[in-house]
């Protein structure tokens, strides 16, 4: 490393080419972000399309999208705890318990669905508070606490719903999330709103930097990023607006779960990137002692992370129930490891302090593609687990290696 440079730079100067090289250098240095996952998506798409002509079809495209939504939400939930180098193995069953509360209140207590749903979310939040308290205040390792809850909640689900009980969800609004679509114009409007928001944030940020007297990254980077977003978005909306039905009744439009997911991810990203809470969450994940000395209330941040995780886990549970159309005592039992896998595959570091919600979304897409693609090839379910396990192991190994390369293993 050259130590003699005479003036201070921000890291924003230079043209597009310099920034491209800078990115490559960071990747080489081990800071890969979601790059491997994006490559994974492309390769998987190619392989599965080659092996199964049905893989890239309108119907399967929409299926894949809907399937990955609940995993995206769960792994986004987990990002909040993984960022502080903790884990919540009970996230899946937390969703299950919340659903059990929801359905129980509707069926047994005859509550209207909205208060019942709110009660489900409150249950989720309370679970987050308890886990967070035990981990952050008492100091029980999160692995153990959440494993205990993982087991305990399976019991609670059975108690609430009875052994073998399967309850149909008769709430059209909940069923609609995964099974209904936006009108055709709704998809385009959604795309327009996304592009406008992204553009506004860029313009706003650049304007503020300029007013402060700081330099900006080359405009071409914004243009390229926006161009890619518009192109992918246009293609996706166009494709989903085509009729994908194999029967008589046409099915077309962007699934309703899409805007819900986008809004939640956008809010989460905003919180992580632009608020004091988000900054402190990363700091606690990077070096809790440094955070404490900087005056950050580390315990509070930790508990909040578990609360957010449980809350989003309930959202994921609702997506799941909507897709299945019913709630039973096993909801959420198996998804949590896929959620962890998705986050790690997407580039979230298990060591804490590094990762974004977008990483979780891309990772979830990879895991869903494996599941979906192998299913189409009529592989037994065992193979899918095997492959997912292998991918998780690979991603975690890459994570550990890149951390070594970063020279940050000195601290344990």
């Amino acid at each position: 490393m050259s130590e003699k440079v005479t003036s201070l730079a921000s890291g924003n100067e230079g043209n597009l080419r310099d920034h491209a090289f800078g990115y490559l250098a960071r990747v080489k240095g081990g800071d890969m972000g979601s790059m491997p996952a994006i490559l994974g998506v492309i390769i998987l798409a190619g392989v599965f399309e080659f092996l199964s002509p049905f893989f890239i079809t309108k119907l399967n495209f929409a299926n894949l999208f809907v399937q990955s939504a609940e995993l995206t939400m769960l792994s986004s939930a987990l990002v909040f705890v993984i960022l502080i180098a903790e884990i919540d193995l009970s996230a899946g069953v937390t969703g299950g318990v919340a659903l059990a509360v929801f359905i129980d209140l509707i069926k047994a207590e005859k509550w209207p669905w909205i208060p019942a749903l709110i009660a489900g979310f409150v249950a989720g939040i309370l679970i987050g508070v308890v886990i967070g308290f035990l981990v952050a205040k008492i100091g029980v390792p999160s692995f153990v606490v959440s494993l205990a809850f993982f087991l305990g909640f399976q019991g609670m689900q059975l108690v609430l719903l009875g052994d073998g009980g399967v309850y149909r969800i008769e709430v059209p609004a909940v069923i609609a999330i995964m099974n209904s679509n936006l009108p055709l114009w709704g998809g385009w409007l959604l795309l327009l709103v996304c592009i406008t928001c992204s553009l506004s944030f860029s313009i706003w940020d650049r304007g503020r930097r300029a007013r402060t007297g700081l330099d900006n990254k080359p405009l071409s980077i914004v243009v390229i990023r926006l161009g890619i977003l518009s192109m992918l978005g246009t293609a996706a909306v166009y494709y989903m607006n085509l009729n994908r039905s194999m029967g008589q009744v046409p099915i077309k439009g962007v699934p309703i779960v899409t805007p819900i997911t986008i809004v939640i991810l956008a809010i989460g990203t905003f919180v992580l990137d632009r608020t004091r809470f988000g900054r402190h969450l990363y700091a606690v994940g990077g070096n809790p002692e440094a955070a404490r000395r900087a005056g950050i209330k580390v315990v509070g941040i930790r508990i909040s992370a578990f609360i957010i995780c449980s809350f989003l886990a309930v959202v994921s549970g609702v997506f799941h129930a909507s897709r299945i159309g019913s709630v039973d005592g096993t909801a959420g039992h198996t998804i949590v490891l896929s959620g962890v896998a998705a986050a790690v595959v997407g580039g979230v570091s298990l060591f804490g302090g590094r990762g974004r919600l977008a990483h979780a979304a891309i990772g979830a897409l990879v895991i869903s593609m494996i599941d979906n693609g192998l299913g189409l090839l009529q592989m037994p379910a065992g193979i899918s687990y095997l492959v997912q396990g292998g991918v998780l192991l690979m991603a975690a190994t890459i994570d550990a290696l890149s951390r070594r390369r970063n020279g940050s293993v000195s601290r344990t």
Partner: protein, 251 residues
């Protein structure tokens, strides 16, 4: 002496751990705009003396005076409310955050409820420039990519942002090579030139002679010498540290 009233004055400080008297009535003065080196052999009580000032481990007896007025320091918050900032040897930086984010950690500049990144970047750049920092390439680098000396630089520059009046450095050059040591010592000098009182703990006597204005020597829990750097010699300091020489009138 440039400043008649010391910014920090300790009078008759005592501290014991059980039967062991670690500090035996220390009188210690620190002046604004000066680097005061605190030297002494292992176990002499340097860190214990500093921890009391930082508020992490209160003294048993004696008084602390800030610019002539007696104050109480019983917690780190009280210490920092008086503008006393400690740069610990382990630095306590978040490697996953960049330089600006680290410098403003816990004291973020906000605007409309969100982080005001441009303002923080500007102030961080100014602080680094005011110390004539030349070793840091870009303020938006992650700390994980910085060398030991660069990290020390960031940790010291952070105290400039907080407008500290007294900055305490615990062995700032301990783990550094020749070139980086030189840079950090320059930084320490620049910090003092801005009017900050710097207390530097060091085992490296040549570093001390290079940068310090005053040298205070601790020996087995007693302050055995207060020396002005330019009037003393390397051998003299060594003999105080090892206890082969004692100064009149310090106790």
């Amino acid at each position: 002496m440039t400043n008649p009233v010391p910014i920090i004055e300790l009078r008759g400080i005592t501290k014991s751990f059980g039967p062991v008297d670690v500090l035996k009535g220390i009188n210690f003065k620190v002046y604004a705009g000066q680097v005061t080196a605190l030297v002494g052999d292992n176990g002499a009580g340097k860190s214990t003396l500093i921890k009391g000032l930082a508020g992490v481990q209160p003294y048993d007896g004696g008084t602390v005076h800030f610019a002539g007025e007696q104050i109480e320091i019983n917690s780190p918050t009280q210490a920092s409310s008086h503008g006393i900032e400690v740069v610990y040897q382990d630095l306590a930086l978040c490697e996953n955050l960049d330089i600006v984010q680290n410098m403003f950690l816990g004291k973020e500049v906000m605007k409309g409820g969100t982080l005001n990144e441009p303002e923080m970047e500007l102030q961080a750049t100014k602080a680094l420039k005011s110390l004539s920092v030349k070793t840091v390439k870009a303020v938006r680098q992650k700390v994980s990519s910085l060398s030991g000396g660069q990290r020390q630089t960031v940790a010291i520059a952070r105290s400039v942002l907080r407008e500290s009046k007294v900055v305490i450095l615990d062995e700032p050059t301990a783990a550094l090579g020749v070139a980086q040591t030189e840079q950090v010592l320059n930084l320490v000098r620049n910090l003092a030139n801005q009017g900050v009182a710097v207390i530097m703990i060091s085992h490296n006597i040549s570093d001390v002679f290079e940068v310090a204005d005053q040298i205070s020597v601790l020996y087995l829990g007693g302050l055995v010498a207060n020396l002005t750097t330019k009037d003393s010699t390397y051998d003299e300091v060594i003999s105080y540290i090892t206890g082969t020489k004692t100064q009149e009138g310090v106790k």
